[in-house]
């Protein structure tokens, strides 16, 4: 194939462009993902600060929170971390490390 000087230069330009633009593609992709997350984060803080969306900005000011903890007749009248709270809203955790040890004993290598 005979290539004219002009098309040769154009091809060189395109290749050089790709070579320059695609340096560190992995880190570029990561940065793009974070800007995507940043947009969502920004929107969250904007809603928090927007009185048209949220009248109150502190949990203790939520009228329904005040209602549920009301000392007289609230459902959780003994207050945060009270008896009823412990029954319904608190939990315990389960040691799952044996399953991990079994996995490692089988020869699996994990990164932690």
């Amino acid at each position: 194939m005979i290539m004219k000087r002009r098309s040769f230069l154009k091809a060189c330009g395109v290749m050089a462009g790709y070579a320059v633009l695609t340096v560190n593609v992995a880190s570029e992709a990561f940065a793009a993902a974070m800007s995507f997350v940043a947009l969502r984060q920004k929107s969250v803080y904007a809603a928090d600060a927007n009185p048209k969306i949220y009248t109150y900005r502190k949990s203790q000011d939520n009228p329904m929170i005040v209602k549920i903890y009301n000392h007289k007749d609230g459902f959780l009248h003994d207050g945060p971390c009270g008896h009823k709270s412990h029954e319904l809203l608190h939990t315990h955790y389960i040691d799952r490390s044996a399953k991990l040890a079994a996995l490692k004993a089988k020869g699996y290598k994990l990164s932690i």
């Binding site: 969250v44 502190k58 203790q60 799952r96």
Partner: protein, 436 residues
């Protein structure tokens, strides 16, 4: 609002696969009593895996790894997987699927007139859902989300954000108690870790069980709203608790694991009956033929619906910390916090630490970690007894729940595939040139 007609929607066979907002998902709703550790919530379709290894890079535990000489990846065992789905949302080939989906079961419950279906959407859902209907990244669609849930036929539009406010009351109070009891016999240890994030909880239970006493005993917001719906909510609305079917709507895959934890039954029933994520909610809205963009903005139902800005920031890394400090500051100092913005704890990536001066009390030392690799660093510090902090917030997904494994996909990731393919070709071209 008249609910949409769901009569044309029929369940698919259990185990069948379908595409949900760009992610393959297996129609499987685990029955009560199934051991969550034996369920694969996230797995690689070996036929679609191109052995690029992106998933492995985003996995903090190494649960997803190459299983043969071709470099095909798999989640090797559910015990090592925290179900966060960061591999799934970062796979450029769409090769990773979800193993659990309650969508068909939920449609059946919505159609059943005898079941009282309760919606419980997490904060972040309202910052992602709109993207499935053409809105730009991060658009807030809370009002439309509530309207869509009503239109789908949910009987009570309750909101996990309300429970986020409740979590602050409980977890903030617990922190203040822990600080005060230091030096006493049987004092609970500091730092206190947040307990909202289900990937992080399983991570502690699996890799750092010795730090379980540092975890706040508070359930996550959804863990609180489930039992409240079937007790307090049932009382307030005069509903029989056994008729109530609670639906956790999350930006998350690990919440599906949390939802079937057998110990979460404090209402006398299974506290959380079903868990779906943002993508699945969008799928259901589309399947029901609802025109999302033309919906009016609506409020949630009272009692378990109202929420504050402190609740909505739970979706961001550093948000639980900021919300907790808005309470702790006022309780510890006895003064009003005039500006609720505590920007120093807002975290985009990595580890963020801050000293917060509280009048009449002193310095509260806090740390926020985004991503489990960063969490492990803070855990090692606590294990070595060198952690100076009072309170540590951990989120499994970098940036927080807004970037959860159940959120709409970032279109850039699959688009970046084109650019990386070009890069690979260039690399080979250059390598050849050097050899020659």
């Amino acid at each position: 609002m008249v609910p949409a007609d769901l009569s044309a929607i029929h369940p698919q066979a259990e185990g069948s696969m379908r595409l949900v907002e760009g992610v393959m998902s297996r129609n499987y709703a685990p029955k009560d009593g199934t051991d969550p550790d034996k369920i694969t919530f996230v797995q690689v379709d070996a036929d679609k895996c191109e052995a690029c290894g992106a998933c492995e890079e985003f996995c903090a535990t190494g649960a997803i790894q190459s299983i043969n000489d071709d470099g095909i990846h798999q989640v090797v065992d559910p015990a090592a997987c925290m179900n966060c789905g960061q591999c799934l949302v970062n796979c450029p080939y769409g090769a990773i699927y979800e193993g659990v989906s309650f969508v068909d079961e939920l449609f059946a419950k919505l159609k059943d007139p005898d079941t009282v279906v309760v919606s419980m959407p997490a904060p972040s859902v309202r910052y992602g859902l709109g993207e499935c209907f053409g809105a730009s990244t991060g658009t807030y669609v809370g009002g439309k989300m509530h309207a869509a849930l009503r239109k789908l036929g949910f009987d009570y539009i309750w909101d996990t954000e309300y429970a986020a406010d409740l979590t602050i009351m409980e977890e903030g109070t617990e922190l203040i108690q822990r600080v005060k009891e230091q030096g006493q016999k049987d004092a609970r240890p500091l730092p206190q870790f947040t307990s909202c994030c289900p990937g992080w909880i399983k991570f502690t239970e699996t890799f750092y069980p010795d730090l379980m006493p540092n975890l706040s005993s508070c359930k996550s917001p959804i863990g609180m709203l489930g039992p409240l719906a079937k007790t307090y909510g049932a009382e307030e609305t005069d509903t029989k608790p056994k008729k109530i079917y609670t639906v956790s709507i999350m930006p998350c895959i690990a919440k599906k694991y949390e939802g079937i934890r057998p110990e979460l039954n404090d209402s006398g029933f299974s506290d959380i009956d079903a868990t779906i994520n943002t993508r699945e909610l969008a799928y259901m809205i589309k399947a029901a033929g609802i025109d999302f963009n033309s919906l009016p903005d609506q409020d949630p139902d009272p009692v378990l619906g109202e929420s504050t800005g402190a609740a909505t920031i739970f979706g961001n890394s550093g948000g639980v910390m900021e919300a907790a400090l808005r309470l702790a500051y006022e309780v510890l100092s006895g003064e009003k916090l005039n500006n609720p913005d505590i920007k120093v704890v807002r975290t985009h990536e990595g580890i963020n630490t801050a000293d917060v001066n509280v009048p009449n009390f002193g310095v509260v030392k806090v740390a926020v970690a985004s991503g489990l690799k960063n969490a492990a660093k803070l855990c090692d510090e606590v294990r070595a007894g060198k952690s100076p902090y009072h309170f540590i917030e951990i989120m499994t997904c970098p940036g927080g729940c807004v970037n959860g494994g159940g959120q709409p996909l970032d279109p850039e990731i699959q688009a970046s595939l084109f650019r990386s393919t070009v890069a690979q070709i260039n690399k080979r071209f250059r390598a050849r040139k050097i050899k020659a």
